[in-house]
C-alpha cells in the first residue's frame, strides 16, 4: 500500500519537475563547398547567410572547401575529394561545380546556385519537385534571352548583326537550347546571328577577331558561369572592338561592359544558406522546390555607352536599377 503510494508520488514528482530543456544538438555540421579557386572558397555571402540563421562557424558548423585551382577540368577532382570528406551537405556555388558534385555523389544533398537551367542541366526533375539529391536556386529563366536582347536593342537600336558568345563548358543540350532561344529572339528583333564558342583567354581574343571579321555590331553573352569569370576580359575586348555587349553578370557593367541584366549573385549565394539550413534540419532536397529569382537588375555603364555613341533612352533609364556614370 505504502509502496504504491510512494511510486505514485515519485512519478508525480518526476512529471512535475521535468525541466523543459531543449535538447541542444551539439553536433557540428560539415558543410562542403566546391570552388573554382581558393577565392571562391571564401564565399562570404553563404557564411553570412548561415550566420543569419543562427549558425556559428567553428561551433556548430564548419565549411569544408575543395577547389579546382582555377581550372574547370579540375572541378570533378575537387568534388570527388570533397565527397570523401563526407560532408553533411555540399554547396555548389556555380553550375559547373554543381555538375561536378552531381557526378561525385548521388547521396549527399547538394545545394546549387545554378546559372543555367537546372532542369535542362539535368539537376532536377522539375522546379517544384526536384526529386533527386540536388536543389537550390537558379538565376535562369528561359524568356530572359529575349529580354536581354530586347534591352540591348533598346540601347543600341541600330544593331543588325549579333554575335553570340558560347562556351565549350556548356553541355550540348543546354548549348543547343540557348542558341535556339537566342537565335529566335534575334530573329524577332530583326538581327542576324553568329555563334562563337570560346574557352577563354587567348581563345576569346581570337573569337572577338572572328566577330569583327564577321562585322558584328553587338554581342550577347550566354548564361554560363565561365563568362562571369572572364567578365573583365570580355568587357575590355568588347570596348576594344566597340561592341555593345549584353551580359547576364551584373558586375560586367562596372568592369567597363555596356550593360548587364541579371540577378544579384551574392543574394543567391546567401539564399543557398536557407537550403543548407533546411537540409541540416532534416528536409530532403528532393522535396525542396528550386527557387527562381523574383527580381532582375539592369545595370548600364553610361561611359561605355557614350564611348559607343549610344544614348540611354527613357525606357531604359526607367528600368535601370543602376547607371554607372
Amino acid at each position: 500500500m505504502s509502496r504504491i503510494c510512494l511510486l505514485t508520488l515519485a512519478v508525480l514528482i518526476a512529471w512535475l519537475t521535468a525541466p523543459m530543456t531543449i535538447a541542444q544538438d551539439t553536433d557540428t555540421a560539415k558543410v562542403g563547398l566546391i570552388g573554382l579557386d581558393e577565392r571562391e572558397c571564401g564565399n562570404e555571402p553563404l557564411r553570412s547567410g548561415l550566420r543569419g540563421l543562427g549558425y556559428r562557424e567553428g561551433e556548430n558548423f564548419v565549411i569544408e572547401c575543395r577547389h579546382g585551382g582555377g581550372r574547370y577540368d579540375r572541378l570533378p577532382l575537387a568534388a570527388a575529394e570533397l565527397v570523401r570528406a563526407k560532408p553533411d551537405v555540399i554547396v555548389a556555388p556555380t553550375h559547373l561545380a554543381a555538375a561536378a558534385a552531381q557526378r561525385a555523389t548521388r547521396h549527399i544533398p547538394i545545394v546549387f546556385v545554378a546559372t543555367s537551367d537546372p532542369v535542362l542541366g539535368g539537376f532536377a526533375a522539375s522546379l517544384a519537385r526536384p526529386g533527386g539529391n540536388m536543389t537550390g536556386v537558379t538565376c535562369y529563366a528561359g524568356e530572359l534571352t529575349a529580354k536581354r536582347l530586347e534591352l540591348l536593342k533598346a540601347v543600341a537600336p541600330g544593331i543588325r548583326r549579333l554575335a553570340i558568345l558560347s562556351s565549350p563548358y556548356l553541355t550540348p543540350r543546354l548549348k543547343e537550347v540557348y542558341i535556339r532561344e537566342a537565335a529566335a529572339a534575334a530573329k524577332d528583333l530583326q538581327m542576324e546571328t553568329l555563334v562563337c564558342e570560346a574557352s577563354g583567354g587567348e581563345d576569346l581574343e581570337r573569337k572577338f577577331d572572328e566577330m569583327a571579321a564577321w562585322k558584328a555590331d553587338a554581342l550577347y553573352i550566354m548564361p554560363t558561369v565561365v563568362f562571369a569569370y572572364e567578365a573583365q576580359q570580355i568587357a575590355d575586348l568588347a570596348r576594344w572592338h566597340r561592341l555593345p555587349t549584353m551580359h547576364w553578370y551584373k558586375p560586367f557593367a562596372s568592369l567597363g561592359g555596356l550593360m548587364a541584366y541579371g540577378v544579384d549573385y551574392p543574394t543567391l549565394q546567401r539564399h543557398a544558406a536557407v537550403y543548407v539550413d533546411k537540409i541540416l534540419k532534416g528536409s530532403h532536397p528532393s522535396d525542396l522546390p528550386i527557387e527562381q529569382p523574383t527580381h532582375y537588375q539592369l545595370v548600364i555603364n553610361r561611359e561605355t555607352a557614350n564611348e559607343l555613341g549610344l544614348a540611354i533612352p527613357p525606357s531604359i533609364a526607367l528600368r535601370a536599377d543602376r547607371i554607372i556614370e
Binding site: 508525480l12 514528482i13 512529471w15 512535475l16 519537475t17 521535468a18 523543459m20 522539375s126 522546379l127 517544384a128 519537385r129 529563366a141 524568356e143 530572359l144 529575349a146 529580354k147 530586347e150 529572339a185 524577332d188 533546411k278 528536409s283 522535396d287 525542396l288 522546390p289 528550386i290 527557387e291 527562381q292 523574383t294 527580381h295 532582375y296 527613357p314 525606357s315 526607367l318 528600368r319
Partner: protein
C-alpha cells in the same frame, strides 16, 4: 513512528483525519483553480490568435490595396500630352519600378485591345493590339472595384495573381498586372506566434498562397483537406464570427494545433494563424506543473502539520496510557506530566492523586513488613545465641560423662557392671553424635568452614573408607567392596571424606542383604565417586527430601533411634561448600546409587609423607600434663584419664592457679591442655601464653572448647594452638596428648605444637 505508535492508535486516526481534511481542501481548491485558469487561458490564447489573424489579414489587404493604388495611377488620363502608347509604356515601366511584386503589366484600351505590355522577363510589346475584350480582366473590373483573378502558378511553382484595375469616370482602359505572390511572404513570415507558431494564407480553393516556409508554396500545396481550412471555406465565415472555438485542428504534419483565421474579403482568401498545441499550452502545462508542485509542497506541509497536531493531541493521551500502565506495573512513584490544562490534564491530575494514595498505603504496608522482618531477625539471633550457649553448656556435662563412663568401664570388675558401663558408653556416644550433628549443621550454616583444596590420590581416601566400614558390613553379612583407583582429584580431602563417610554409612545402614560397592569413574576432567548399595531404595518423590534435616526414609522394622536424619543434610551442605552436588539414582527395594562429582586433579610433584600415626602408648608413659579447666568434674575426669594412660597430671581451675601449679612442679610439663572458655576474663589461649612466659619455654599446648559458636571457634583457632571441640572422644584426646608430649620430648627447648593441623578439623561424622 510505527513502533512508537501502534497500528490503530489515536495518533494514526488523528493523523489520517487531518491529512484527509487539509489535503482534501487543498486538492479541491487547486483543482477548481486550475480548471478555471485553464479555461481562461485557453480563451485568451484563442482571442490572441484571432487578433493576430485579423492583423495579418489587414496587412495583406493593405499590401494588395497598395498595389491596386499603384496600378490605379497608370490608368489615369494624362492631361499634358495625351495617352500615347509610348507614354503608357513608360507608365507601366514606372509601375514595374514602383512595385517589385509585379512581373508583367499591360494596358488595354477602352475596346479591350492590348496597347502596351511591359515585363521583367519576357519581351515588351507596344501597340500589339491583341484583343482581350473577352477576358475577365477586361470585363470584370469596375471603377473603384478592381478584379482579382484566381491564384495561378507559373512554371508550376511560382504563385501569381492577376489584378486588373479600371479607371474612374475620366480615365480609360484597364491596367492588368501579374503579381508574384512570393513577395507576400515577407508579410506572412513576419507574423510570429510564440516560438514555432506562424501564419499562412490560402486562396478560395484552399491552395496555399503564402507560408513562412516558401517551399510549401512553391510545391503548390493544397490545404483544402485540413479540417480547419475546409470548415472555414465552407462556412464563408463573416469577419465578426469571433469567439467560436476553432476546434481540433491539424497542421500538414498531422500535429494538433491551435488555430484561428480571418478572411481577406476582397481577395476571397483566408489568413490562418496556428501554433502547435503543445507549445500553445506549454505555459498552461507549466502553470499546472507549478500548481502541482505547490500542491505537493502544501500537502507535504499539511502532512507535517498533521503529524505535529496529531502528536500534540495523542501525546497526552499516550502519556496517560503509559503512566497508567507504569503505575499498574507497580511504579507508584511515577507521575504523569500532562499539562495541557484541559480535561486530559485534569484526568492526569486525578490519576496522579490516585497513585499517591496508593503509594501511601503501600508505604504503610512496607513499614509493617520491615518491622516484622526485623523481629524475625532478632528472633533468629536469639536462637543463635541460645544455640551457642546451649552447645557449650551441653558439651561440658557430656564431655565429663564420657570421661567418667570410660573410667567406669575400665574399673568395672563384674560382668553386669561392665555391660551397663558399655551401654552407658554407647548412650553417651549417641548423645555426642547427635549434638555434633546439630552443631555441625549450625556451623555449616554459619559459614565457618572454608574448604582447603589440594590435589590428592583418591585411593587413600577409599582405603580409609574400606577400613572404616568393612568390619561393620561384614558383621551385618554384607559384601563390601572398594574398587581401587589411581585417579587424583582436586578437592578438600577432609570434607570429601566426610561426605563419602556419610554416604557409605548410610549404605551400610540401609542394606540388609547384598552388598555395597564404592568406586570412581573418570569423565573428562571430572571424577565421579559412586557409592552403590542394595538397600531399601528411595522412592522418586522422596529423592529430594532426603537431603533435608531430620528426614528419614521409612525403613520397615528399623529402629528409628538408630539414625538422626542429619547425615545427608550435612553431606549436602558440605558438597555445596565444595561446589559439587550429590546425585541420587534409586529404586525402592532395589537399592540406591549416590554419586559425587569432583574435579579431576593432577599428581602432586612430591607427595608429603603421611603423618605418622601417633604412637599413643609409648609417648604418653611418664609424660607430665598440665590441665586447665574451670569445671571441677572435668578436671577430675581428665586427671583420672591421664593417670590411666600412664601420665602424671596436674590440674588448675584458672590462670593464677595454673601458674602456681607450674611453679610447684619439679619440672616443666610436657603438654598443656586448656579449656578455651574459662571463668573470668582470661581465655585458655591467654593462660597458655602466660605459662609459656613463666616457664620460659614454649610448652606444646592444645585448646579444648565446648563453645560451638562459629566466632568462638574462630577465636580459638586464631590463637595458633590445636583446638579440640567438646565433647572430645577419649581416644582422640589421647592421640593429641601423645603427639604433644612426643613433640616436647624431641626438642630440648620446645617450640610449638602448631604442626598438628588435623586437630582443628571439624569432628568426625556422626554415622547416621
Amino acid at each position: 513512528m510505527r513502533r512508537l505508535w501502534p497500528q490503530g492508535s489515536l495518533f494514526h486516526k488523528y493523523f489520517a483525519y487531518f491529512v484527509l481534511l487539509v489535503g482534501g481542501a487543498l486538492l479541491a481548491s487547486t483543482a477548481t483553480d486550475l480548471y478555471f485558469s485553464h479555461k481562461e487561458r485557453r480563451a485568451a490564447l484563442v482571442t490572441l490568435q484571432r487578433e493576430k489573424a485579423l492583423g495579418a489579414a489587414v496587412r495583406i489587404e493593405q499590401f494588395v490595396k497598395d498595389i491596386e493604388r499603384q496600378i490605379g495611377w497608370t490608368v489615369l488620363p494624362n492631361a499634358s500630352d495625351g495617352s500615347t502608347p509610348d507614354q503608357r509604356y513608360l507608365e507601366l515601366l514606372k509601375l514595374l519600378r514602383q512595385v517589385p511584386a509585379i512581373t508583367d503589366a499591360s494596358w488595354l484600351d477602352a475596346s479591350g485591345r492590348e496597347q502596351v505590355h511591359a515585363s521583367r522577363v519576357s519581351l515588351d510589346r507596344v501597340g500589339s493590339g491583341r484583343d482581350r475584350s473577352g477576358d475577365r480582366v477586361f470585363r470584370e473590373p469596375k471603377p473603384g472595384q478592381p478584379y482579382f483573378g484566381p491564384v495561378y502558378f507559373r512554371k508550376d511553382t511560382e504563385p501569381y495573381v492577376t489584378i486588373a484595375v479600371a479607371p474612374g469616370p475620366d480615365g480609360e482602359g484597364v491596367t492588368v498586372a501579374e503579381v508574384n505572390l512570393k513577395l507576400v511572404w515577407d508579410l506572412v513570415a513576419r507574423i510570429g506566434i510564440g516560438r514555432t507558431g506562424h501564419a499562412y494564407v490560402v486562396d478560395g480553393r484552399g491552395q496555399l498562397v503564402s507560408h513562412p516556409d516558401i517551399s510549401r508554396v512553391l510545391k503548390k500545396t493544397d490545404l483544402s483537406s485540413l479540417p480547419q481550412v475546409r470548415s472555414a471555406l465552407a462556412g464563408s465565415m463573416p469577419l465578426g464570427d469571433g469567439l467560436k472555438d476553432p476546434g481540433p485542428a491539424r497542421d500538414l504534419e498531422g500535429n494538433a494545433v491551435l488555430t484561428a483565421h480571418a478572411p481577406i474579403a476582397e481577395l476571397g482568401w483566408l489568413v490562418f494563424v496556428e501554433q502547435p498545441l503543445s507549445e500553445a499550452y506549454a505555459p498552461l502545462h507549466a502553470s499546472v506543473r507549478r500548481s502541482g508542485l505547490l500542491l505537493l509542497a502544501a500537502l507535504a506541509l499539511s502532512v507535517l502539520a498533521s503529524l505535529l497536531l496529531a502528536q500534540r493531541m495523542a501525546m497526552p493521551i499516550r502519556a496517560l496510557q503509559q503512566g497508567a500502565a507504569r503505575i499498574g506495573a507497580g511504579e507508584l512513584d511515577h507521575r504523569m506530566d500532562v499539562s495541557t490544562g484541559d480535561e486530559l490534564g485534569q484526568l492526569a491530575g486525578e490519576l496522579n492523586r490516585m497513585a499517591a494514595r496508593l503509594r501511601e498505603s503501600y508505604g504503610d504496608l512496607e513499614r509493617k513488613v520491615a518491622v516484622r522482618t526485623q523481629e524475625l531477625e532478632l528472633a533468629n539471633q536469639a536462637k543463635t545465641r541460645f544455640l551457642r550457649a546451649a552447645s557449650h553448656d551441653l558439651r561440658q556435662p557430656i564431655h565429663a560423662l564420657g570421661l567418667f563412663v570410660d573410667q567406669l568401664s575400665a574399673r568395672a570388675q563384674d560382668q553386669e557392671t561392665r555391660r551397663i558401663a558399655t551401654l552407658a558408653g554407647v548412650a553417651v556416644t549417641n548423645l555426642q553424635d547427635l549434638l555434633d550433628a546439630v552443631l555441625d549443621i549450625s556451623r555449616l550454616d554459619a559459614g565457618v568452614i572454608a574448604p582447603v583444596t589440594a590435589n590428592f590420590a583418591i585411593d587413600s581416601l577409599l582405603q580409609r573408607l574400606d577400613a572404616a566400614f568393612a568390619p561393620s558390613a561384614k558383621e551385618k553379612g554384607l559384601r563390601f567392596r572398594v574398587v581401587p583407583s589411581r585417579l587424583f582429584v582436586y578437592s578438600d580431602p577432609v570434607l570429601l571424606e566426610r561426605i563419602l563417610l556419610n554416604l557409605a554409612a548410610n549404605a551400610v545402614h540401609y542394606s540388609e542383604r547384598g552388598g555395597i560397592v564404592i568406586g570412581c569413574r573418570r569423565g573428562g576432567d571430572r571424577v565421579r565417586i559412586l557409592v552403590c548399595d542394595t538397600g531399601i531404595g528411595i522412592p522418586a518423590e522422596q529423592q529430594q527430601s532426603i537431603f533435608e534435616e531430620f528426614y528419614q526414609v521409612a525403613a520397615q522394622g528399623r529402629d528409628h533411634a538408630q539414625g538422626l536424619g542429619l547425615g545427608l543434610a550435612i553431606a549436602a551442605r558440605l558438597a555445596r561448600l565444595l561446589g559439587c552436588r550429590i546425585e541420587v539414582a534409586s529404586r525402592p527395594g532395589r537399592g540406591s546409587t549416590f554419586a559425587v562429582e569432583v574435579p579431576r586433579g593432577v599428581q602432586p610433584p612430591t607427595q608429603a609423607p603421611a603423618a605418622p600415626a601417633p604412637d599413643a602408648t609409648d609417648s604418653l608413659s611418664g609424660a607430665l600434663v598440665l590441665v586447665v579447666d574451670d569445671d571441677a568434674p572435668i578436671r577430675d575426669a581428665m586427671h583420672t584419664l591421664l593417670t590411666q594412660w600412664g601420665c602424671t597430671a596436674a590440674t588448675a581451675a584458672n590462670g593464677e592457679e595454673a601458674i602456681a601449679v607450674l611453679r610447684r612442679l619439679e619440672r616443666v610439663p610436657d603438654a598443656i591442655l586448656a579449656d578455651y572458655r574459662l571463668n573470668g576474663e582470661e581465655t585458655g589461649a591467654q593462660v597458655i601464653r602466660r605459662l609459656h612466659a613463666v616457664a620460659r619455654t614454649e610448652i606444646p599446648a592444645a585448646l579444648i572448647t565446648g563453645d560451638a559458636a562459629p566466632e568462638s571457634l574462630h577465636e580459638a583457632q586464631a590463637s595458633g594452638y590445636p583446638v579440640l571441640a567438646k565433647p572430645v572422644a577419649p581416644a582422640k584426646l589421647r592421640a593429641l596428648t601423645a603427639h604433644l608430649a612426643s613433640a616436647s620430648r624431641k626438642r630440648p627447648a620446645p617450640g610449638a605444637g602448631k604442626a598438628q593441623a588435623a586437630a582443628d578439623r571439624p569432628p568426625a561424622p556422626t554415622g547416621s
